[in-house]
């Protein structure tokens, strides 16, 4: 029983987060108070939303390195829309931001689907292109807090039943993604394509098309995060969320989503993001320089992938022995 539980990746991760929190609580009990934990969750919301999109892409044996650039471009466009037409309703801006994100995701998806270009090359290219487009759009200028309308900035902080809208949105996305992954043909197709593309073809799944939709989904979530990021930090410029694509992938890897595709869950992606979020928020509390965060997340990624690889290796029947380290 216990051995079985220990093999479950999500439970292992919950345990790891609990241990982490317990260690922090030994010195700083206030950190694990409900209000502070809610604050940590809220702070991690955007990473959670992005990790859910990246999860869909990684499940199909692809990768999206352009998510942070996509976020930045959508966020900038949302901010520009708001600055140009302060009367425009906020839900409309969010829709526009998500539509643009989906479009950018479609570009990635089309290149992967129709041209068979390796995903890492496609998104490496679009990563620089999307970020460059922000510069072309703005000439490198910033959009500052005073140029944004109050409603634009207030929405993520708005209090609904004691919880900010930002947290509600991420909870909603978790619920939606959970339903998509477990209850729709598309969600099952993501797993099928990543688990065994050849078998997926024989069951009538269009592998390329499935990947295309995974990129669209990631793009839409990046678009939503674009608005959330810009309104939350109340500033938009070329370099927002620069390098954040690695945090997103890190959250997925920590959450046990196999980079080889086919293995992973919504719970894993959320827990992986939360693990990073707890570390990020705990560092200033336990008086470690914020400069140490990068090295810590690097170490965590390596440990996580080593642990996951161990668990994966035992699974499945060995049909043809893979070339292993000699």
């Amino acid at each position: 029983m216990i051995a079985k539980l220990l093999k479950n990746r999500e439970i292992l991760l919950v345990g790891a987060i609990a241990v982490l929190l317990a260690l922090i609580a030994l010195r700083f009990p206030a950190f694990v108070g409900p209000s502070n934990l809610a604050r940590v969750y809220n702070d991690t919301s955007i990473l959670i939303i992005l990790a859910l999109g990246q999860m869909a892409v990684i499940l199909t044996r692809c990768i999206d390195l352009s998510m942070a650039a996509n976020l930045a471009l959508c966020g900038m466009v949302a901010a520009m829309l708001n600055a140009a037409f302060p009367g425009l309703s906020i839900p409309l801006i969010i829709l526009a931001s998500m539509a643009l994100g989906t479009l950018l995701g479609m570009i990635n998806g089309t290149l992967v689907w129709k041209l068979d270009i390796p995903p890492i090359v496609v998104t490496l290219g679009t990563l620089t292109i999307y970020r460059g487009l922000i510069f072309l759009l703005t000439d490198g200028k910033w959009i500052n807090a005073h140029e944004m309308s109050d409603a634009f900035k207030a929405l993520p902080r708005l209090d609904l039943a004691g919880v900010p809208v930002l947290s509600w949105l991420s909870l909603l996305m978790i619920a939606v993604m959970f339903l998509v992954m477990s209850r729709t043909p598309l969600g099952r197709a993501f797993y099928a394509v990543g688990g065994n593309p050849h078998a997926a073809i024989y069951t009538g799944i269009d592998v390329g098309r499935t990947r295309f939709f995974a990129y669209c989904l990631a793009g839409a979530l990046a678009g939503l995060s674009g608005y959330l990021w810009v309104s939350r930090y109340a500033v938009a410029y070329v370099d927002i969320a620069a390098g954040f694509e690695l945090d997103i992938i890190a959250a997925c890897v920590i959450g046990g989503i196999s980079i080889a595709g086919g293995i992973g869950s919504v719970a894993g992606a959320v827990l992986g993001a939360l693990f990073l979020g707890v570390i990020k928020n705990a560092l200033p509390v336990i008086n470690i320089s914020p400069f140490a965060q990068m090295a810590i997340s690097g170490t965590v990624i390596i440990i996580a992938v080593a642990v996951n690889a161990r668990a994966e290796r035992r699974k499945g029947r060995v049909i043809l022995k893979k070339a292993e380290a000699v």
């Binding site: 041209l115 090359v121 460059g132 990624i301 390596i302 380290a325």
Partner: protein, 334 residues
């Protein structure tokens, strides 16, 4: 892969001659592109065709190209190393730290190369020893290595490198030929011979094409891969020496984002990102093209980020165009 779908009737009676194959090769296309860019630059700016300007221009690709040679071998073997830019940062930080303790130039060079090798060994051990996927491991070490520089440096910078150290990044061997450019040419020859003329090079291709088959033919797959990651680390250390010497200071954000440019250079050079094929002459041409584009745009006062859009478009289109071309030709043939 795509060609395997051709019907048996399309198999030619005899293979094309060496000349015809060369004409149709990726390298021939790159030469055409490079010539066009060279001509375009010469016409667009009167300052382009000046030996000293051209010599200055080489600095924006030599350091990246050094790493690209080793990266080409890694990618041909079916792996990838995204941590190279972070190795540059960590090696540079170590050298800067040593300067504060009073190290002289030979010691600095040894430290730079040593840290590079050590980082390469860490990558290699994790990938071959534990059998982990290289893309995730090097994303991890990318954070780790640069994170260590951030811990050491924070928002500070190391300066005060000895005068003799400046020669690596600013010195000239003869006339307009800088030390860095000479090193680039030398390394191109060394890597060209290593990949195309030695047993080791054949083994790298064999692993990239079919790792299992290579293992069964008696290739020590893990040892070869470990060596490749060591080499990449060493090259990153070397690039770190050149870059640090050229800039004369170290910040933890040094060489930020270079891993993408190095990979772009390798892929643009015709190396298959999935492994198994690619050549060093291709990478050399890609380095020249990227260098000339950057320099030409610089002369025209185009901002750096716009150049990166162009590089991104170049990366996608050079891979997409041959695919579209092959597809169009097949449609015509039927």
């Amino acid at each position: 892969m795509a060609d395997a779908q051709l019907s048996p009737r399309n198999i030619p009676d005899r293979l094309e001659g060496r000349g015809a194959r060369l004409m149709k090769s990726w390298e021939a296309l790159l030469i055409v592109v490079a010539t066009l860019i060279f001509l375009g630059n010469s016409l667009a700016s009167p300052y382009f065709l000046d030996p000293w300007n051209l010599s200055d221009a080489t600095f924006n690709f030599t350091e990246k190209a050094m790493i690209a040679f080793a990266m080409a071998l890694v990618i041909i073997s079916g792996e990838i190393d995204l941590s190279v830019a972070s190795i540059i940062a960590l090696a540079s930080t170590a050298m800067g730290y040593a300067v504060q303790l009073g190290a002289d130039t030979p010691a600095l060079v040894a430290i730079g190369l040593g840290v590079g090798l050590l980082c390469g060994a860490v990558n290699g051990l994790l990938i071959t020893g534990l059998g982990l996927p290289s893309i995730v491991v090097t994303i991890g070490t990318m954070s780790l290595f640069r994170g260590l520089s951030f811990i050491i440096l924070g928002d500070q910078a190391f300066t005060g490198y000895p005068e003799s150290f400046a020669w690596f990044g600013q010195g000239y061997v003869w006339w307009v030929f800088s030390f860095e450019f000479t090193l680039f040419v030398l390394l191109a020859v060394v890597y060209g011979v290593l990949l195309h003329k030695t047993n080791f090079g054949r083994v790298v291709y064999a692993i990239g094409n079919n790792q299992t088959a290579a293992l069964f033919s008696g290739v020590r797959v893990a040892r070869v891969k470990f060596t490749l990651f060591l080499l990449t680390g060493l090259m990153a250390g070397l690039a770190s020496i050149c870059l640090t010497s050229r800039l004369g200071s170290t910040r933890p954000s040094i060489a930020l984002g270079w891993e993408l440019e190095v990979v772009t250079m390798v892929v643009l050079g015709g190396v298959n990102i999935l492994g198994g094929s690619g050549t060093i002459p291709g990478v050399v041409l890609a380095a020249l093209i990227m260098g000339m584009v950057t320099f030409g745009f610089g002369l025209l006062n185009v901002p750096g980020i716009v150049m990166s859009i162009f590089i991104g478009l170049l990366l996608i289109s050079v891979i997409a165009l041959p695919i579209l071309w092959r597809r169009a030709r097949r449609r015509l043939a039927h």
